[in-house]
Symmetry: C2
């Protein structure tokens, strides 16, 4: 269930930081080396590198060495855990159900968790 912990940071923690969410956006359509990523932020390369490590621990990015650069790319699969978590709550806001209605749905719901 815990989706192979490649480090001490999980997906929930990884996406908690706005900078890291921006990094993910950057990597959506292309692979990028650290310096290029850093160009998009007002912080040092080292700081960005740390964010990349956390994302990597969460499995959200993968690195590939090409010559002297390390290119990072998005690895979206771990977001499925987040999606699964969210799905549990989705039905609750859809029709602004009451607590009682939620209770019924929760027990009666079409879950396979």
């Amino acid at each position: 269930m815990a989706a192979l912990p490649s480090g001490k940071h999980d997906v929930f923690q990884a996406i908690a930081d706005p900078t890291r969410r921006e990094v993910l956006r950057l990597l959506v359509d292309r692979e990028m080396p650290v310096t290029a990523i850093t160009g998009h932020f007002a912080m040092t390369r080292t700081a960005v590198s740390k964010h990349l490590r956390i994302l990597s621990e969460a499995g959200l990015v993968k690195e590939r060495k090409v010559g002297r650069e390390t290119r990072y790319r998005l690895e979206p699969q771990p977001l499925q855990e987040l999606r699964g978590w969210l799905q549990y709550y989705e039905r609750f806001w859809e029709n602004k159900m009451s607590a009682l209605q939620r209770l019924v749905e929760a027990e009666d719901g079409p879950e396979g968790e």
Copy 2:
């Protein structure tokens, strides 16, 4: 767009902590006073109270005073922001698309949001 910031903590931060995610689960089907919530955790009432404040700042719970107790209930709407964020990435893991395919999908995508 930033969904009325009722405090300094946002949804992403709020759900980053496992304890807070558990609290949300507890409140799914019923309203609960602080002490009752605390009963489910190995920490003090004060600690739980702080978590509740953070959840409250993120808009994920609402409090209601009843006599001497403060009852908390789930307020799932703010999770929609998370869902919107996630949806952007959903298409990327569905069929393990390549970066190029993702690029095309991202620009050309079948959006109706």
